[in-house]
Each structure stands twice: as C-alpha cells, then as structure tokens.
C-alpha cells in the first residue's frame, strides 16, 4: 500500500535543484505512486533535473519579483486547492530550510492542518505516513503521525535520505499562479548578498573542522580556519560561539543549525552539548580535541584527544603543511 500522491517543495540555486529536494524526492518515490514538485520560481529551469529524479509535474509560480517565497508559495498552493484547480496531495514534504519552514508554516494555517518538523525518516504505517524526529541530541527517536484528515505537512531535515536519479523525462511544468496577497505579501526583497566563502560548503564538505567555546576567543577561530584550509575542509561552529557572535549563524552545526555528515568531523574545543551532537553524530569519523576528559563529545569520538586546542591545533596544521 502506498500513498497516491506526494508534493515535494523544490528549492533551487545557481547550481540547480537543491540537494535537500533531491533527497526528499527519493523518499517520496518509495512511499507514493505519484510524485510532484512545487516551487516558487521558474519551473522550466528545474524540469529536466526533477524529471530525472522521478517527478511527473512541477507546479511553479514563476518569478516572484522579490516577494517572499513562504507566503507566495503557500498562498498559491492553497488557492489552487480551494479553487479546485488541483486536488490536495496526501502529503507535502518540505526541507527544514529558511524558505521551507516559511512555506510549511503559512500553508498549515491556510489548510488548517498541523506541521511535523525535523523528521529524519518517513515510512508508511497502514495508509498513512509516520515520521521519526530525533530529540535530546539524538539520544531518543520520537515517531509521530497525523490524526487529522490530511494533507500531512512534513518538514524534513537535510541529509536524511540519499538522492537517487531514475532517468525520467523532464517534468511537465504547470502554472501555479500567486493570488493577490494584500497585507501579508508586504515584505519585498530589495537586495541579495552572497557570502563569499572559500572552499567547500559546510553541508557538502568531506571534512568539517568545527570550533567551540574552548577556543577562548573570537580571534582564536583563525586556528579553525587555518586547519580547514590546510585540509580542504569547511569550517563550522558550535551554537555557543555563534551565540557569542564570534562567527555567523551560517557556520552553526547542530539542532538549530546545519546537519553535517562528512567523512571526517573534527571538533575542537567543543564539549558536545546535545544541541551540537544532533547535527554531527552522523559523521563517518569523528575526531575530538578538548581539555576536559569528561566532555560528552568523547563519547561519540572515534579518536579523542584530551588536550588544549591552542597547543594541538598549531602543531597539527604545521604537520599537515606540504602534505
């Protein structure tokens, strides 16, 4: 028994359809007969890649001229459903991303149904989906399901599934017009800035080097950047030093930041609060350097070094030079 139809929220950037979208498509195909996508933007630009990942049709708003994606896409979907233009799917899957959360939140109010957030697995239980959400730093897995008449709205954490292309023909592009928004559509993007970052992206890097409060000061974060550069790694951070303003939010690994699953994760001066563990426990190999031998990070580390990051990191970076 599978679901009839799932809608997956498609996000895309300059380098094509976002990985989180492709991950959700792979899971959606497992549990539903028909998988369709919806997006706030140009559907034609994504049609080939979406089709390759098994999408039959993509419902697209077209260019939003700076209007916010959340309210625009949610209004467009709700109005297509209430106007009888499309039937509501059994479930919506959206990524736990900046725009994904906005769309899910607005849509839940418009359709008067709940949202379940942060799921890392979805499976069929009878004729309904159940989702698994890690809590307490991933020490407990909570399985939940909706008890309403649907549709389900699930927010899925990145890196939960593996993308798997099936070589389908391009998805049919269907117009999803945004209705007159009125006051709720008042926010408009006036300018966009790209943060220039050298090296690989945090959530795609094979190696991640993260720093925490044990660094002692914002200046000491340069040791993390130095080692990351030497290893071709992405620099990351614990929530503590993001909250302290040492590095931007975009560096944050954890429950409220990015989920990473690199080949090697190097935690430097990070104690291993549950908030952090949930974002990096899935790494293939974990190296931890911390002064405190009792730090919880050592419980998940394949190699733990009890020592001062200020002493170990400079030597490590130097030893790697010329390799």
């Amino acid at each position: 028994m599978t679901l009839d139809r799932i809608w997956v929220f498609c996000e895309a950037g300059d380098d094509g359809v976002a990985t989180i979208t492709l991950e959700m498509l792979a899971k959606a195909r497992e549990v539903a007969g028909t998988v369709e996508a919806f997006c706030g933007g140009d559907g034609a630009a994504c049609a080939a890649e979406l089709g390759d990942h098994g999408v039959a049709a993509v419902y697209a708003t077209g260019d939003l001229s700076g209007r916010m994606k959340g309210v625009s896409v949610a209004s467009a979907v709700a109005s297509a459903i209430s106007g009888g233009k499309v039937a509501a799917p059994d479930a919506f899957l959206l990524g736990t991303t900046y725009d994904g959360r906005d769309v899910a939140a607005r849509l839940s109010v418009k359709l008067d149904v709940s949202v379940l957030s942060n799921v890392v697995d979805l499976r069929l239980d009878g004729d309904r989906l159940v989702g698994v959400e890690p809590v307490f730093g991933g020490t407990l897995n909570v399985t939940s399901r909706f008890t309403n008449g649907g549709p389900d709205i699930w927010l899925v954490r990145p890196k939960s599934f593996e993308p798997s292309p099936v070589g389908g023909s391009p998805a049919e592009v269907v117009d999803l017009p945004v209705p007159e928004l009125g006051a709720v559509g008042g926010a408009v993007v006036r300018d966009r800035f790209t943060e220039e970052s050298e090296g690989p992206k945090l959530d795609e890097a094979a190696i991640v080097v993260s720093g925490g409060r044990g660094l002692g000061s914002a200046e000491a974060y340069s040791m993390i950047e130095g080692l990351a550069k030497q290893l071709g790694a992405a620099p990351g951070a614990s929530r503590a030093i993001v909250d302290a303003g040492w590095v931007p939010y975009s560096y944050q690994v954890g429950q409220t930041g990015k989920v990473v699953k690199p080949t090697v994760y190097i935690a430097c001066g990070i104690s291993g609060a549950t908030q952090h563990l949930v974002g990096m426990k899935g790494s293939k190999n974990i190296i931890a350097i911390n002064k405190d031998s009792e730090a919880p990070i050592f419980a998940v580390a394949d190699l733990g070094v009890v020592g001062d990051v200020h002493k170990v990191l400079p030597k490590l970076t130097e030893a790697l030079e010329g390799r």
């Binding site: 942060n118 909706f146 966009r192 020592g307």
Partner: protein, 253 residues
C-alpha cells in the same frame, strides 16, 4: 512604537509521560533573549515605545518572564491554562496570535525556533493567523517611518528585505548580545504588570489547543542507537601526530 516579543519558558522532556515537564521551575529560553534584546534596542533607537511580552504555559509559572522583564521589557501577557498542555505548533500559534492582537503592536518579534520543540514554524504561523507579513531568520533589523528593513539569513548569504509594519520578524540567535538583568532591573521586574489570561478570555475553544487541538500523536519513543566511543589519547605534546596518522588511515590527506 509598541513591540511585542513572543517568549517561551522551557523545562525538560519526560521520556516516561512523553510530555514536556512544565511543573518544574521554568527558565526563559535562551533563544528568546535575542528577541527581547532586539526589541529593547529598537525602542531605544526610536526614542519612544514599549516592549510587551507574550507567553503561554499550562500552569502559572512566571519565573522565565521575570527574567525578560528584568532585562527591561515593560509588561507581559501570560496565557496560563491547563488546556494548553500538549499544544503543537499550530495550537501555540493560535493562542499567541490572539493574545498579540489584543496588544495592537507595531512589530512582533520571536526567536526563529525554541530550544526544546524547535519546530521553527510558529512565527510565520502567527503572522498568517494575524494577516501580517513576516520576515524570518533576521540578522539585523532597523525600523524607520513604519517600515522595517531586515537583513535575512539565506542559504547563499543574506537578503535585504523591506517590510511595512505591523509585521512579524523572527530573530536568529547571536545577532545581538542580550544584556544581563541589573539588580535594579530584577527588583523592578517584581512589580511590572503580568496580565494572566485563560484561553476562554481570548475566545479560543479548548478543543483547538493542547492535546485536543494537536492533530498529531506520538506512536513510539525509542532509544537511538548509540555511537561507540573510540580511542582516547592524552596530549603529551605529540597528539597531533596521532591525528595525522588517523587522517592517513582514512585516506583523506
């Protein structure tokens, strides 16, 4: 300028009863301290206005609210009702939106997500329920002439968003440094008005909130598979060599 800040008082999850423990002393969610600080700064810059807190809880706990009042917020509304126990994000948003509407704010601030539930959808749900525009994941906010200019975090970097007020803006952690309550602030907070309401006062039916209104249920709670700890070495000045060897074994260098 009247700024309403949504704040949450948090406890801990009880694996036995599958519910958040609210009968212990609750604290202000650290995530909310940034919204409170941002609101205080915006009112300071504007030279006039007030900061009002809105919070909900199934008991009459106020200690977390007092912390925010001690930081400098002027007043608070606490929706305190046992029917709120088990509320999901949408149920929470219904209650907050109804309470915020009574305050008639120019600007509503919230954290992007709480530290315990972390659904990350409540601020935009509140906005939708109130018929307001919203900007989530704000890194900076400036208000001038009835318009908020917000620098919003994005995957690529940041968007500069203009938004007419009233509006709902959610604030990312770490973007301002929350002040510590002064002794004077703590003393003053004890006498600041905290208006306690029941959901009936907001015209909300009990079946729209709490366990009754949450159209979802937990079917299972299981221990996640443990990740085994590996080798631990104490640095004697040569631990970097062990790390290099480990990276070598993994063939990543």
């Amino acid at each position: 300028m009247k700024v309403v800040v949504c704040v949450k008082q948090i406890g801990a999850l009880d694996p036995e009863t599958k519910t958040l423990q609210r009968n212990v002393k609750l604290i202000l969610d650290e995530s909310d301290s940034y919204g409170v600080e941002m609101a205080l700064q915006l009112v300071d810059t504007a030279g006039e206005g007030s900061v009002h807190l809105v919070s909900m809880v199934p008991n009459d706990e106020v200690s977390g609210l007092r912390t925010a009042l001690a930081m400098g917020a002027d007043s608070a509304t606490l929706i305190s009702d046992e029917a709120l126990a088990g509320s999901d994000a949408l149920g929470t948003a219904r209650v907050l939106a109804a309470a915020i509407e009574r305050a008639e704010p120019d600007l509503v601030l919230a954290a992007t997500e709480s530290s315990d539930g972390y659904t990350g959808v409540v601020p935009a749900q509140v906005a939708e329920l109130m018929g307001l525009p919203s900007v989530t994941f704000a890194k900076e906010i400036a208000v001038e002439g009835g318009t908020a200019t917000v620098r919003r975090q994005t995957e690529a970097g940041a968007d500069l968003v203009e938004c007419p007020l009233p509006a709902v803006v959610s604030v990312t952690a770490g973007v301002v440094e929350p002040r510590y309550p002064s002794f004077r602030g703590i003393m003053q907070a004890k006498n600041k008005p905290v208006d306690q309401l029941r959901i009936a006062d907001l015209g909300i039916a009990a079946e729209r909130v709490g366990w009754a209104g949450a159209d979802q249920e937990i079917t299972e709670i299981a221990e996640a598979p443990e990740r085994a700890a590996g080798e631990v070495v104490v640095d004697e000045g040569d631990a970097h060599e062990r790390i290099v060897a480990f990276l070598d074994e993994l063939k990543v260098i």
